[in-house]
């Protein structure tokens, strides 16, 4: 087994199976959550549910991240807030605007768009990696966080960190032959895809449920979500 062969395997069958597990797993999780049933909300409708939802997203995604000091999460632990936010922003930039990843989307969905200049993507991937390391140190040193963090959360960290670091090393052409680091990137991406439905990273989907439902509840009561 040489690395050319391993790369062939990871670009083909491995990624393929990982994607299948990801799709089955996420569909399963989604249906199970939906069919858990909703608690009946007996509050009288005093406002607009839709408006509540819109407000909730505006606040949570577009306004508050940029004036974080009004938030208790920020005041309590600014580090978690900033590093966490920067990590998600970086992840988004790298996955949506890195050339290599645009080609993945193109092959999957047939659509493509302009990539950002490599130095910009490189900046964000470095920022993402540093944020992850900061988050890890924070978890290791913060006495309460440390108690709260169980094994699955540590696994989350590793699963997200590996694709980030291998991707960064590959794009900079450091240390490894390209086919070696390319294989490692794809193996770690496949592991992540398999892990996501099993653990908490599925929040990339469920986040929108809680955001929507909280918004609707608040809207119904005509209060600020």
């Amino acid at each position: 087994m040489d690395w050319t062969e391993i790369l062939r395997f990871s670009r083909g069958p491995l990624l393929h199976v990982a994607m299948m597990i990801f799709i089955v797993g996420m569909s399963y999780r989604l249906v199970k959550v939906i069919l858990l049933g909703w608690e009946r909300d007996r509050a009288a409708n005093k406002g607009s549910k839709l408006w509540g939802v819109i407000l909730n997203y505006l606040k949570g995604l577009l306004v508050l991240p940029f004036i974080p000091w009004v938030r208790r999460t920020f005041r309590n632990n600014a580090l978690t807030f900033i590093a966490g936010g920067l990590f998600h922003l970086s992840l988004f930039v790298v996955l949506a605007f890195g050339t290599a990843h645009i080609l993945v989307w193109k092959s999957l969905f047939g659509i493509s768009w302009k990539s950002l200049p490599t130095p910009v993507v490189a900046f964000f991937s470095a920022a993402g990696i540093i944020s992850l390391i900061v988050l890890l140190i924070n978890r290791l040193t913060h006495p309460v966080l440390k108690l709260l963090t169980k094994l699955p959360i540590w696994i989350n960290w590793v699963m997200v960190f590996l694709p980030m670091i291998t991707g960064f090393i590959m794009a900079r052409h450091l240390w490894f032959r390209y086919e070696v680091i390319f294989s490692l990137h794809l193996i770690s991406v496949s592991l992540l895809l398999i892990w996501i439905p099993l653990g908490r990273i599925s929040h990339f989907l469920f986040y929108f449920f809680s955001k929507t439902i909280h918004g609707a509840q608040a809207g119904k009561r005509a209060i600020m979500p």
């Binding site: 799709i23 999780r29 080609l103």
Partner: protein
């Protein structure tokens, strides 16, 4: 009778000493001699100049016999050599530095050709270099490629037995090449997969770069051994770097400037071809350094993405115009729907089971909370 040395042969043909030394310099360049310390081969301890090393070899050694066989191939590698822009040099190597038996290029045909080959093999048994172009085929004892009634497997084993070294030229002879593309009906494979008891060097490419094939032949002649190779048995002086390593479009790659199609502004500006499917980052070959047509250009320079022709499975490594990062197996709509369906079904089934459990639990709870409880207890007491 002692055989004439190469120098004597060339001198008899009218080559002056001055031209001979010039030739030696050219040959040293072709072999990439600066990479290989020449000391060991000549038993000297000082470092003579590469040109001197070559001259020394040509003055002392007789011409190198070469037997060139073709199996499942298109003769493109032979074409490339015989028509390379340095034909005089190619010819010189194949005619004056080596003595060649080449089925396609020789004048003789039929039984005559067969006899010539057998004679050549017998005369130089243990000394000749076997060059193989095209892939051997394993299926059904090699009957899918026969020459003069013999299967390619027999021909290969027979010729390999008397060879001092074997050079597999082109992707087909190295790794199976196009005949080995899925589903590989003839079970085509590389020469080195079959011949384990002789030194084999692979010169993959489609075609192999002529200067690399002749350079490797010359290396064997001058140094008395095949060049150092990588894990795919490719000579390191020529396959030590990727196309991407030496690519002249590399600054555009680093800046993130990519041609989006073959005729857009980016393509005209010479931007990187990664998005058009370039396999340069994983392809080890000398194109970008040596170039083709006497250093004129090479595919990526001329505007076409690298196909990865010097790598194993290059024909099945994803579409030629498909980005290198794209997965090679893509889920179609039907299987995606099936997978979603499977997830939904299992989720729904489990949710159903949960619902039934829940309603049962509710009932029991209700029962437990109802006033009959007392009566039940009393009944029990009575009993």
């Amino acid at each position: 009778m002692k055989e004439k040395t190469i120098y004597e042969h060339l001198r008899d043909k009218g080559l002056s000493r001055r031209d001979f030394m010039k030739l030696c310099g050219t040959i040293a360049g072709m072999m990439g001699l600066e990479f290989a310390p020449p000391v060991k081969a000549l038993g000297k301890l000082t470092h003579p100049s590469p040109t001197e090393v070559v001259a020394q070899a040509l003055k002392t050694k007789p011409r190198l016999p070469i037997i060139w066989l073709e199996f499942q191939d298109c003769a493109g590698c032979s074409e490339a050599i015989s028509r390379s822009s340095s034909p005089s040099l190619g010819n010189l190597v194949l005619n004056d530095i080596a003595i060649e038996y080449h089925e396609t290029l020789m004048a003789a045909a039929g039984f005559q050709a067969e006899k010539a080959k057998e004679e050549c093999m017998r005369k130089y048994w243990g000394k000749y270099v076997l060059v193989v172009e095209g892939s051997p085929t394993l299926a059904d004892d090699g009957i899918y490629c026969t020459v003069a009634g013999k299967s390619n497997l027999d021909l290969l084993k027979e010729a390999a037995a008397g060879a001092a070294a074997i050079i597999a030229t082109g992707n087909c002879a190295s790794f199976g090449g196009i005949p080995a593309a899925r589903p590989n009906p003839t079970r085509a494979c590389g020469v080195a997969d079959l011949i384990k008891d002789k030194p084999v060097v692979n010169i993959p490419g489609c075609p192999a770069i002529p200067e690399v094939t002749t350079g490797t032949i010359l290396h064997f002649l001058v140094m008395g051994e095949l060049p150092k190779t990588d894990h795919f048995k490719r000579p390191l002086p020529f396959y030590g770097h990727t196309i991407h390593d030496h690519c002249l479009r590399r600054p555009f790659y680093e800046a993130g400037k990519f041609a989006e199609s073959f005729d857009d502004e980016g393509a005209r500006q010479g931007y990187c071809l990664y998005k058009l499917g370039c396999k340069g980052p994983t392809t080890y070959n000398a194109c970008a350094a040596l170039k083709w047509e006497r250093g004129l250009s090479y595919p990526v320079q001329s505007g076409h993405p690298c196909l990865g022709c010097s790598e194993p499975h290059f024909w099945d490594g994803g579409g030629f115009y498909e980005g290198q990062s794209a997965p090679t197996i893509i889920l179609d709509k039907v299987s995606t729907a099936t997978l979603v369906g499977a997830g939904v079904a299992v989720g729904a089934a489990l949710a159903g089971v949960n619902a039934v459990k829940k309603s049962r639990a509710k009932k029991t709870l209700k029962k437990a909370a109802s006033p009959e409880t007392g009566t039940e207890a009393e009944t029990k007491k009575e009993a």
